[in-house]
Symmetry: D3
Subunit: 127 residues, 6 copies
């Protein structure tokens, strides 16, 4: 983990932008680990910054999607950090419950579809 | 695939409820395959019906989450059917683009977090 | 795909053993593809032969487990070939239905457990 | 975690049914976490109860399948709880060893099949 | 799929850079699909360009790693395109055979490690 | 965990071969756990020994591939042990950074390819 005080100017610049963009005064461990590879730190942060800001989908919806993917992949760190992020963006307990219900069901029916070898309906084919 | 005309009364009752609930006049292949096991057909439909209706999260958001999980799991059938479902619920091309961007990024950072063996920050720990 | 008539003696010896062990007169595509790497062909066949024969678990149970894993991983080839294998070993339609129900449910609760960040009960800890 | 004494009547009713069905006097953490969303608690329990009871497949076989899926998905909680469940249903050390061998091999050949891009044999195609 | 002749100047600029960087005169379907979202097209290409060029690891090694991940995830498109990419970068049939053997084995032992609930050795702990 | 002093002659023979082959004087937990099933211990070790030795790909490249798969599967034990193995085989910090960047990107584009339902280009089709 590379702390702010031990960071190179290049890494500090990313840390500063993370804190300014998110209006927070601390850096979470994910970035402190990536800081061992400043190029990946910068590229990952710039991608996240471009993707996660509000656009056609609002920030809360994007955080819910992030939790859905992380839960499907069983990534402990990402579940913890993005569940916190979703709560900060407005996710209530009731929303979290519905999110988990959808994620669980999707993981179930994904396997029913493949195990039963269901062919794609013509109406669903990408054109 | 069990077509409506060949279905038992038990299976037809589920098919009828699917069409009435979704206000459509056809049944997609997923249900026609599950119909080989009427208990699983009924249980899966009742769960989907309970989960996917609007609640704290609206139907569009739930369909976006379904696509996110199916894409992460690489389930071809589910990607095709739920992308169609999301479009029907109002997903625009621009929303789809943002959905894919978030799903892609989450799958990337999930692996950066595990590969770098990042410990969960105290602030993110579930209480 | 390397057909029997085009195979080297080393590859033919494995093909012969597969057919003799399984009491069949043809080789499925999986082995014909692996035959491009005779060492992997031989090692994989010898492992499969050692593992899949009846032991403490019977052949049907082992084939059901194989289908469960292949369905979870969404491997189209493996789902098709091992579902055929399970049917040959005695799997009925009703057994297949229950297998799919368990596989679907396990994939669902796996995500509920991780998404809710459920800690392992002391009673379940490996000793 | 919602303990029995802090649970609403709706949640207690599910807890009571779990303990009566399984002939045990305690509730494991999975259900105590789900209890934050009583609808999902009830639906998940009713599905599990319907699926995991003996049918065409016996309880032990179903628990083995559950462990196979959980191991493939690397779900720590589920591996621990369903390995305990399988042992309670009669799984011996030798059976566990064979289960792991099959699960490992299936995960290996799933990737050999996809990496070699093996086409499905006509004989295996679902009809 | 957005063909070169139908592409906006923004998309064409990315297509031109892909062809110039890779010294080829055609665009593969992946980029033609992403072109529906020019921001994701540009960001993904710039990341790929930064990551996949020779650095501490040579291009062949990076393509082998790409095939390993794609095979593990069972992504048909990515297996096909990156196996072609690896061959172009110098992968021989014998190297491909060894790559598949390692990928298969890693997928097997990943599950043996989780199924047996193996604790991490102190010597392996990240410091 | 079965320690050397408590091991049967059959298990000790494998432990001895592991230590001799790897020129080390200790056994890591993975093998001590597998030792509960001597057949799987022996078969797994013999496969690993055959696969991981230098061939057309050198040992470092094979270890990098192992880490790539383990990271994609989120196997904590395997990430820790094979990252240590890769470092022993010569992986520098800079190589690790590039490895993670490729693994992350491949996991991202795998989902973009499936989510956009990209058809395989004719040029990439296996012949």
């Amino acid at each position: 983990m590379i702390e702010y005080n031990d960071a190179s100017p290049e890494v500090r610049a990313v840390y500063d932008d993370i804190m300014a963009t998110r209006k927070i005064d601390w850096i979470n461990n994910f970035w402190k680990a990536l800081a061992h590879d400043p190029k990946t730190l910068r590229r990952t942060w710039e991608s996240i910054k471009e993707i996660m800001g509000p656009g056609e989908l609002d920030t809360l919806t994007k955080e819910l999607i992030y939790v859905a993917v992380s839960t499907t992949n069983q990534c402990g760190y990402c579940i913890a950090s993005h569940t916190a992020g979703a709560r900060k963006a407005g996710m209530t307990d009731a929303m979290f419950g519905e999110l988990m219900a959808v994620v669980g069901m999707a993981n179930e029916t994904n396997r029913l579809a493949s195990g039963y070898q269901v062919p794609i309906d013509d109406r669903f084919l990408a054109k």
